[in-house]
Symmetry: C2
Subunit: 210 residues, 2 copies
DNA sequence: TAGATTGTTAATCGATTAACAATC
DNA sequence: TAGATTGTTAATCGATTAACAATC
């Protein structure tokens, strides 16, 4: 096992490995070679072995990898077993879509609470998650620390809310607003899901042809 | 202007340039140097000049770039002025979030129609976009061609719906399902917005520290 | 044992950065 | 004019691929 900083390119591929290994496991596949795994993901066998070698030795010569144990290893690398805890800010359509349809727990994250300012939803609950008023954010986090803040608020309040999350001790922000967050506390991670950037890239790619 | 295949790394940066140039323009900034632009985006001046040089010569020695005309150039490169037309499949929370809060038109895309199977919403309209029954997809697209299909259906029907979109002439699929689409018609572009992959990457990054 | 496949080292390829002549 | 800044060529860096000894 080499001990060096893992490149972002590798990190971005790990979730795909994880997803595919899960599928294979569901399908009852027991073992897989780097060659076969690469073929179904559109990558070279070399790259997969190289990627995995950043974290340890998970295979066996002449055999390949055991699907379920490799899946478990990758899950572990990705931090699925660290008891991460999240709160979500903004219970609009997008917030609700995540709360109702996205299974945080499948990725090792407990969605503990939601916050909004709209009186009709504050005090109720949504998919089993209680919705509090945003004013109560700091008070809540003091009593129930969380390390992830999911940002599904309107763009204009995004930075303000992000600052509050960081002040309250959150380590990572999953940013769904189209705003470039200005948070730059040294060890805070911002993961952007910029719909606009994604659509523009798609736009570009389909505009190529004559 | 060099005429070579533009790398995906460049394409992914263009939307950020575009967003930032828009912000600058809104703020009344008239000119900017590659140096200043790089500083505010966390990139080197070299990289920005290198990236832009893939598409043309937009600056002026000793002056830099005119913000609004560079913005227009980038918009053009990204295909914002090509009259792209989209349909959305699946009017659940996520579909509605996109229809109500995401401004397709700001990115040069007209969202023309939505499709779902739930009787309560079929026949109605949402944010001015008519909702049809999914059975009518082919018929609709024959009469109103679209080149983008937005996929916000449940995962289990994702591939089936994707195939239908492709058969009906769509060129790009904006995939919000957590499924790896198997569509591989030669010139079809799939742009994935995999929430799970994004959250797992965030998980990893905040799990780093001791 | 023979065949398969790993982990790792070396070679290649591509992307980023640096340098600089051209010029506004 | 002098200073600033471009577009581009060359140098560096990092990531991907290929090769192969080790070994199950």
């Amino acid at each position: 096992m080499k001990k060096q900083k893992v490149s972002s390119a590798v990190i971005r591929r790990l979730p795909r490995y994880y997803r595919h290994l899960n599928d294979l496991h569901q399908a009852g596949v027991e073992r897989i070679s780097s060659n076969a795994l690469g073929a179904s993901l559109g990558l070279t066998a070399s790259q997969i072995r190289q990627d995995l070698s950043c974290f340890g030795e998970f295979g066996q010569q002449g055999y390949g990898y055991n699907v379920s144990s490799l899946r478990d290893e990758v899950a572990d690398i990705l931090g699925v077993n660290r008891g991460h805890c999240a709160v979500i800010l903004g219970v609009g359509n997008l917030g609700r879509a995540l709360m109702e349809n996205f299974h945080f727990d499948r990725f090792g994250v407990t969605l503990a609470a939601a916050f909004d300012v709209v009186p009709e939803i504050v005090g109720r609950s949504c998919s089993g998650v209680p919705v509090y008023h945003t004013d109560q954010l700091e008070e809540y986090l003091t009593q129930h620390p969380a390390n992830i803040g999911v940002l599904t608020v309107p763009g204009r309040v995004a930075n303000r809310v992000a600052e509050r999350l960081v002040s309250a001790g959150v380590k990572g922000i999953w940013n769904f607003t189209n705003i470039e967050l200005t948070v730059d506390a040294p060890d805070i991670v911002v993961e952007d899901v910029h719909f606009a950037d994604s659509l523009l890239a798609l736009n570009y790619m389909i505009s190529e042809a004559p």
